[in-house]
Symmetry: C2
Subunit: 271 residues, 2 copies
Amino acid sequence: MNTRAHPFDAAIGLAVDGHDAFVGETNPGYANRIGPYGGVTAATLLNAAWLHPARAGEPLALTVNYAGALADGRFRIVARPVRTNRATQHWSIELLQADAVAASATAVFGTRRDTWSSTEIAFPSVPAAAAVKRLSGYDGPAFIGRYEFREIRGGFPDFSKPGDGTDSETCLWARDDPPRPIDFMSLAAICDLFYPRIYRRRPRWTAASTVTLTTYFHADSTALARQSDCHVLGVARAARFGNGYSDQSAEIWADDGTLLATSFQLVYFKD
Amino acid sequence: MNTRAHPFDAAIGLAVDGHDAFVGETNPGYANRIGPYGGVTAATLLNAAWLHPARAGEPLALTVNYAGALADGRFRIVARPVRTNRATQHWSIELLQADAVAASATAVFGTRRDTWSSTEIAFPSVPAAAAVKRLSGYDGPAFIGRYEFREIRGGFPDFSKPGDGTDSETCLWARDDPPRPIDFMSLAAICDLFYPRIYRRRPRWTAASTVTLTTYFHADSTALARQSDCHVLGVARAARFGNGYSDQSAEIWADDGTLLATSFQLVYFKD
């Protein structure tokens, strides 16, 4: 390991292990309560396609299915370009531990061209990141310490207080800690930064975990370079809770109001 | 083919072709301008997992990647249960023609349990389906004729008229024609029923096609049985257009106000 590497780069780092295959290792710095932070798993799966010699273009879409708990330690990723077209390239990616699929993913990469553009949704009215108090002293899993959180609404749950029970929105500024210029992999990870929406609506603990996560990358690498290591604004909410599952939809914005990504997930909750 | 079968069942019909494999055929009744209607392709991929002897539970999530144009004629689907857990089962599904992957998908099936529930988004204020004029005489591809459309806002594009240019929302009542009791497969197909959002914002024709589609099924089979063959309400809009791609997010509601599905897609457009 390069000791000067950012912890995030160490966490998503992969070594080539034959044709279409890579090996990596879970990183204690990005641990969640059980196994690694799902955002880093998503970023690592995307990184396999990113590093693959056959890659064409930049990420457009990523879907990650969290099939089983990841054990701490080594894993293998098989990333296969299933079809390469003129504009788009489709990937199938699997993360394996002990020959079992712990996560599966599909990704679409593509070339972007200059076309008519419009952002139809509005950047929310929020104070600048510097004007929002930074979260500190939160007693959470390790990966929380690898991000800077500046919560505007719907901050980390405090189960000792009643929730408002009416809406599940969270709005916050966030970035890697230490700051790191954003790229597609760190953006993919940030899309999963919101705690389970059920804690916003119902302030008591229950087991909850992401089942499947889909992210659309609206930013190209130029927009990401412009954003560099500044705070991004994240907004997330649920539409529906029931039968042990809830959804989440989220937007990640650059601080200049550029929409970087929209992201969706389905979350299991116990009761 | 069973001549009494509904056209939709004929279109998504599959025959077993060995371990994890099925064969099917494109159906002219569900043709789009080029190849089959993408919603029927999504439904057919889901149907492969649905029909698989190893299936456990009901669909929770489906992601379909449209990797290449489907030619009219036969295709093969390989549907593989990559992991089966106590609550969830993860699928990898590929549709092949001439040994090339034309579509790839992942699906999550699962068991639903009675838990706390809440629908946070509101059923829109709309007239009842019977009070909305049915679309007729629209000069579109064949699959349009297999659905009943009752458009409330943002109806099929008329490029001879200027658009309002400010919002991309479409809101309509729809169902299969002839009416057919809704199930997970027909719901998956209906999620793709909205024409490309760019036609709403910019009223001129350009080539546009879905790149990837993700649907979360909030309804269980009991809710679908209750809905039967009544009209569902569909609402769709985009968040962002640019660099040759746009997104779409949509909700499909039962006529009693139950949220049946939320669905997301990334769409390629030419210019």
